[in-house]
């Protein structure tokens, strides 16, 4: 087991180099550069050229990349343009908000999806199953931003139950942990709901299909034939195996969570990394973009790794096969 994990972690290195290399070059191929965003009519072009030189943008691209790489391996991702703070500081400032939303969303999704999918499979072709099926399909087809706007309209404007924007109530005076907790939780409801509903639908479908497949398999029939009660069959044997695909899919959907998070973060003004990333791309903030891409890659691979570990824990076959 340990060797498995270590091997995967080692694979991370060439992966990161590949990711960073591709990002760097693609980024620099984009027309325009960061100095062009100083749009004040009174800014003279010599000033822009000077600033460009200060940022090292006049050196050849390969040199810029190697320079970046040299610092990156020591954990120094440089200074973000315009913001003038270390990239790591900027990103870590926004990371908690994104992680909070994503992890909550994943947990909530799992909590709802597994029972729904499993039940759907067990009660195949009943009205419950059909209802869930229709609901899943609809959910998979809704554009997330549309859902976000609808939810905001309904729950914030019309009903006034939840705040529409932001993560904190800035007027809260010196809140203690509990107050702060509820403050953030209240602000998180709408974005969380949007993210979860969107991923819920597809995953429920998947869980159902996976459960169905397991139920058809030989070892289940054997267990039934042995006379074990239906409950034991379901929970002891089927369920454990049905969890496998869901964990894989969850792992695979991490990159999309980052992406979808951006749209939701913009609409709900949630101070996360998604918004930061897109702003960085639009403003050609190269150091920031590189930092975010590398960090996302790391998180995604780690997520997959965790998924694989979870996989191994749940399926004894894999665990023993690795020995």
């Amino acid at each position: 087991m340990r060797k498995f994990v270590i091997r995967r972690l080692i694979h991370l290195i060439p992966l990161l180099i590949g990711v960073s290399l591709i990002s760097f070059f693609v980024m620099h191929l984009a027309p325009g550069d960061p100095t062009q965003l100083f749009t004040d009519p009174n800014v003279k072009p010599e000033e822009l050229a000077r600033i460009r030189a200060n940022w090292g943008l006049d050196k050849p691209i390969i040199m810029q990349y190697l320079f970046w790489l040299k610092n990156a391996v020591r954990g120094d991702f440089g200074i973000a343009y315009m913001i003038n703070r270390p990239v790591t500081e900027v990103i870590f400032g926004r990371l908690p908000a994104t992680l909070l939303l994503m992890i909550s969303s994943m947990l909530l999704t799992l909590l709802i999806t597994i029972p729904l999918g499993v039940l759907s499979a067990i009660k195949k072709n009943t009205w419950f199953d059909n209802f869930i099926t229709v609901f899943s399909f609809i959910g998979m087809s809704i554009p997330s931003f549309w859902l976000a706007l609808m939810l905001m309209l309904m729950f914030s404007v019309n009903l006034g139950w939840f705040p529409a924007v932001g993560m904190y109530n800035p007027l809260l005076k010196n809140p203690d942990f509990v107050q702060r907790f509820f403050d953030v939780a209240w602000h998180m409801v709408l974005p969380l709901l949007t993210m979860t509903l969107v991923s819920l639908a597809g995953l429920t479908r998947y869980q159902r299909a996976a459960m169905l497949e397991i139920l058809n398999q030989d070892f289940i029939r054997t267990a039934r034939a042995k006379g074990l009660s239906e409950r034991v069959v379901l929970f002891k044997h089927a369920l454990r195996n049905a969890l496998i695909p869901i964990i894989t899919i969850l792992g695979l959907s991490l990159p999309d969570l980052f992406g979808g998070a951006f749209i939701i973060e913009t609409i709900f003004a949630w101070p996360g990394m998604g918004r930061l990333g897109v702003m960085a791309i639009f403003s050609r903030n190269y150091p920031l973009i590189m930092g975010i891409v590398v960090l996302s890659a790391v998180l995604i691979v780690l997520g997959n790794l965790l998924a694989d570990i979870g996989y191994a824990l749940v399926d004894p076959r894999i665990r023993y096969a690795k020995k």
Binding site: P31, N42, P45, I83, M150, G166, P170, L171, A269, S283
Partner: protein
């Protein structure tokens, strides 16, 4: 959900809402511990006035820092940190007499040394300040001297009228930043200024909070706290206004009617210092003939544009200066909507209708592409409308919506001729009417004169306008200049938009008839009730 939406859609009546007058609370009702929440359209990049160039950062800096002078609602320069100032007879030496007993937020006394330090920092090539060019006149930097603790002298290489406005640059503290690398100083996240509010906290991506500076030299501000919330999406800002999560929001034209129906708001309207225009690339053979440009101006139904795009919230523009500026004058060439005249001019210029109605001249079709930046719905709509308006005279215009950075790259590139045919874009004007960087021929191809305008008389007037100190004389100079430019029509001037701002009625201290700076003039005068 769809049903709810349809129901709410149907309930929106089509009769115009009643216009209420503005009712502001009285100062006697002010809450001494009042808090104001303002929205920002973007996250501030950095809280250092000499480094930042985005409006979000400026909005926050405006409460924390102050400069020697500031602007009032009539766009006049009034004293701030400087009590008075004078200029030598030859216009080269400016002397500012500063207030005594002003303290920085950390208690340290403010002196002329801080002002000198600020300008020296801006002029320092190692500091990434975009303002540097403002203080260099024809290649020579302005020299700043702290004559004594409360007197600052600026020595200019030649008389320069815009300097007064530029002297209002926010001052940064010498005792904190001296000897440090200003670009990356910790100060930029935890600023200290001399303004009416002190920095309290910055929750990255979410909000910035400033609190009252009890020792503010112009008197204790009424508000205890001001919060700036970052809300990038325009609709979300409106929603936040309705739910009470912010106290103010700009209102785009499409929401103008419906905002009057929302209770608890005061609606302010005013003219800002901006104009939107259609810019010709003057090096493009299609547009070199002034007759063609005038023809297209005549073929533009500006009234239709304003009514469709701005829902009537704007005025027709004829020249590169806004009517709210003191330098504005009538007496410029105006091109009324006249299709016959347009066709006549085009014929005179040698253009004849070819097959499918498109004009042709010497085998060249009158077809081109206009660039519009993505994200600005108004300019997009203007392009679509112009496309259809100009079809009537046989001009085929294609529209290309481009991402802002990519568009800037083309428009600002040092190539000659540049790779675009035309743009629809706007200018946000400075308080001083000097617009040399936009119109002077040496500002092409590097500079803001990206259309390639070259008129020696205008060049001369631009120079004269800057070096003449007397306002009345400057006004005459600019009147001449604007007349010439309007005859040349290097742009088709489209409109001056009318700004609409909605503020919750708990906010007082606002201007009932705002100038171009809006209903919030000085933050220390603002208060809230309850």
């Amino acid at each position: 959900m769809v049903i709810i939406l349809l129901l709410s859609g149907c309930s929106a009546e089509k009769e115009p809402a009643q216009r209420r007058p503005i009712v502001l609370p009285k100062l006697s009702q002010a809450d001494p511990e009042g808090r104001l929440i303002l929205p920002l359209g973007g996250e501030p990049s950095i809280l250092n006035p000499i480094l930042s160039s985005d409006s979000a950062s400026s909005a926050v800096e405006g409460t924390i820092f102050s400069g020697m002078v500031r602007i009032n609602e009539k766009l006049e320069v009034v004293p701030d940190l400087a009590k008075k100032w004078d200029v030598s007879a030859d216009g080269l030496v400016w002397t500012f007499h500063l207030r005594k007993n002003v303290k920085w937020h950390d208690g340290h006394p403010f002196t002329a040394e801080d002002v000198k330090f600020t300008f020296d920092a801006i002029l320092n090539p190692k500091v990434n300040s975009v303002r540097r060019g403002d203080y260099i006149i024809d290649g020579t930097p302005i020299r700043f001297e702290a004559v004594d603790k409360y007197t600052l002298r600026a020595i200019l290489p030649k008389p320069f009228a815009p300097f007064l406005v530029q002297s209002g640059m926010s001052v940064i503290p010498k005792h904190i930043l001296e000897g440090k690398d200003i670009n990356t100083a910790e100060f930029n996240r935890k600023p200290i200024g001399t303004g009416p509010f002190r920095f309290k906290e910055w929750m990255s991506g979410d909000h910035v909070t400033v609190v009252r500076n009890d020792n503010y030299y112009l008197g204790k501000p009424h508000l205890a706290e001001v919060v700036f919330k970052t809300i990038p999406d325009a609709n979300s800002r409106l929603v936040a206004l309705k739910t009470g999560e912010v106290d103010e929001s700009d209102i785009p034209p499409k929401d103008y009617e419906s905002i009057w129906k929302v209770p608890g708001l005061n609606i302010f309207e005013y003219d800002a210092l901006v104009y939107t225009y259609f810019g010709f690339n003057l090096k493009n053979p299609l547009f070199t003939d002034v007759k063609v440009r005038r023809a297209l101006a005549h073929a533009t139904d500006k009234n239709q544009l304003i009514s469709l795009v701005l829902k009537g919230l704007g005025r027709i523009a004829h020249c590169p200066m806004s009517p709210v500026s003191w330098a504005y004058s009538e007496g410029v060439a105006k091109y009324d909507y006249d299709l016959k005249e347009a066709k006549r001019l085009l014929k005179e210029a040698g253009w004849e209708p070819g097959d499918n109605g498109i004009l042709v001249k010497e085998g060249m079709k009158f077809e081109f592409t206009v660039l519009v930046n993505q994200g600005n719905k108004e300019r997009e709509k203007a392009a679509i409308i112009l496309q259809q308006q100009w079809e009537k005279i046989g001009v085929k215009m294609n529209i290309r919506v481009m991402e802002w950075s990519a568009m800037l790259k083309i428009v600002d590139s040092p190539k000659d001729p540049k790779d675009f045919d035309a743009v629809i874009i706007g200018w946000s004007l400075g308080v001083d009417p000097d617009a040399r960087s936009i119109w002077h021929s040496d500002q092409y191809p590097r500079g803001l004169n990206f259309i390639g305008y070259d008129n020696p008389e205008v060049d001369r007037l631009l120079e004269l306008g800057r070096t003449t100190m007397q306002k009345s004389k400057r006004k005459e100079i600019y009147a001449d200049m604007n007349r010439i430019i309007s005859y040349d029509q290097p742009y088709i001037f489209l409109w001056y938009p009318r700004s609409v701002v909605a503020v919750r009625d708990r906010v007082g201290g606002l201007l009932t008839e705002p100038g171009p700076t809006g209903p919030f003039l000085y933050i220390e005068d603002i208060f809230v009730t309850k």
